[in-house]
Symmetry: C2
Subunit: 121 residues, 2 copies
């Protein structure tokens, strides 16, 4: 999920779309006109932004009116802070890494060298 959000943000056109939606809600054809970009391109980027949870949409007749989902956005950054601060052994998907990291404590890059040189003696 984190990855998805950052990937969505890591593209210039999507950043621009998001910036505009931060000002006010806009439908696809408004974005098309403001950014001077064709419709499929807008739609495709909006899809990515919606999947990442950064944009929400409301329907009105044929139009899909999009807006920046500020709450969801801030939640993502909560999630990221958690990811970076929670102890490694409590993070799902880091079990092996945790063990190898602990193991490294007695086997650091530097210490490995010392061991090898002492063996040779």
């Amino acid at each position: 999920m984190l990855e998805m959000t950052f990937k969505a943000l890591g593209e210039p056109t999507r950043l621009r779309i998001l910036r505009l939606l931060a000002d006010r809600e806009l439908c696809v054809c408004d974005l098309e006109e403001i950014l001077a970009i064709n419709q499929p391109r807008i739609s495709q980027h909006l899809k990515v932004l919606k999947q990442a949870g950064l944009v929400k949409e409301r329907r009105e007749a044929q139009r899909r009116i999009c807006s920046f989902d500020r709450e969801a956005f801030e939640q993502v950054f909560e999630e990221f802070n958690l990811y970076m601060k929670v102890p490694l052994n409590e993070l799902p998907g880091f079990q092996d890494e945790y063990e190898r990291m602990v193991n490294l404590d007695e086997n650091t890059c530097e210490k490995k060298i010392r061991k090898k040189t002492s063996k040779k003696q």
Copy 2:
């Protein structure tokens, strides 16, 4: 710059590397061992993270010891907040968009329709 940072964060292996570096500084060969990933792959990802300003490195003999640059990281998010909050017409690279957006005020999607239908009358 914003784009670069988000792009760097939008990749699973790089996110993992960054997570580990948030715990403590590590050299390439440590990361190699902890993540069970080959050396060039680690180096290439570190390069991206360094270029994005998320990781800094210190040299010690042949080793490059990497760490998470928390300050630079937080600056990026300041920058992002600014980007999202500063008035559009003050944002470089949004001049045309600003004008077209203002113009849209009297020419919204809905209003355009009304105009067209009233013309027909």
